[in-house]
């Protein structure tokens, strides 16, 4: 296993080799000074992100509020009837829906009375 001192020697050689490629400090420093100042976008970026998030939140909130609100055409639950309720109206259902009286016949309802016949 290579010991630390040997690794240090190798890195020392690498450092010496790199030293030949180091640009002059004045050159780097003056180039940095000559460059445009850093853009201000990093400063305004949080505000832009915040504003976009606020707009998104309001949009989502409005969309949800609209989907949950009752429109005027929406029927109330008490008056609503299923579209298939008509299938339950079978012939003769009015005979079975009422309690028959004693001594009366279910046929009485089917035979027109005199008063009805007169009209």
């Amino acid at each position: 296993m290579m010991d630390d001192s040997e690794l240090r020697q190798r890195f020392e050689r690498l450092r010496n080799a790199d030293r030949d490629r180091v640009p002059a400090f004045v050159q780097t420093y003056e180039r940095a000074r000559a460059r445009q100042p850093l853009r201000v976008t990093p400063r305004i970026r949080p505000f832009v992100i915040g504003a976009a998030a606020a707009v998104l939140l309001v949009t989502v909130w409005m969309a949800r509020a609209r989907s949950f609100s009752h429109s005027e055409t929406t029927p109330a639950i008490a008056t609503w009837r299923a579209p298939t309720d008509v299938l339950l109206d079978t012939p003769g259902s009015e005979l079975l829906g009422a309690m028959p009286a004693l001594g009366a016949s279910v046929l009485d309802k089917m035979i027109p009375t005199h008063s009805m016949r007169g009209t």
Binding site: R10, L14, D20, R21, V22, A32, R33
Partner: protein, 170 residues
């Protein structure tokens, strides 16, 4: 720290900062100089402010690491968004003078071995062996916990020894 003192500190550390910038950008000297320019600009503009919580060198190395990472992300994004055909071809970096061919060859062997390590392992070994920082200081520069830095250090050192041994350069 006033501007004169700041400039004096930067000048004193220039070569070392360049070496660290080289390590942070895949050992490309042009990229390293561009990183250093951005870092100096940040320091001069006050975008990077030294608050004295760590040594100036540790702080500068941290700024260089973050700037290099930021530039790497930017260039990656630019590569995604822009047509790469329009990019200018960068000329090859001039080879260093071959006054000591054996030394250059050994340095190249170490560079090749380092390139095969994970980025964190490269960084911690560079900071410890090249810049003579402690592992704790290296952790501060890398923005990781000391335990994590120690793990990267141990694994990186073992892997580097294996790679250098395989290269037959012992």
């Amino acid at each position: 720290m006033d501007d004169v003192e700041l400039r004096r500190q930067l000048e004193r550390m220039h070569a070392e900062c360049f070496g660290w910038a080289m390590a942070c950008c895949g050992r490309d000297s042009d990229d390293a100089e561009e990183i250093l320019q951005t870092v100096y600009l940040k320091v001069l503009d006050g975008h990077a402010h030294y608050d004295g919580r760590s040594s100036f060198r540790t702080w500068m190395f941290g700024v260089i690491r973050r700037t290099a990472a930021s530039q790497r992300r930017t260039s990656w994004l630019r590569g995604l968004l822009l047509d790469r055909d329009g990019e200018s071809v960068r000329p090859e970096a001039p080879s260093p003078p071959d006054a000591n061919v054996e030394s250059d060859s050994r340095s190249q062997t170490l560079r090749n071995a380092l390139a095969q390590l994970a980025a964190r392992q490269q960084q911690v070994l560079q900071l410890v062996f090249y810049h003579d920082l402690t592992v704790d200081e290296a952790a501060a520069v890398m923005g990781t916990s000391v335990g994590s830095a120690r793990t990267h250090y141990a694994r990186g050192k073992a892997r580097l020894a294996t790679l250098l041994g395989d290269a037959g350069d012992l």
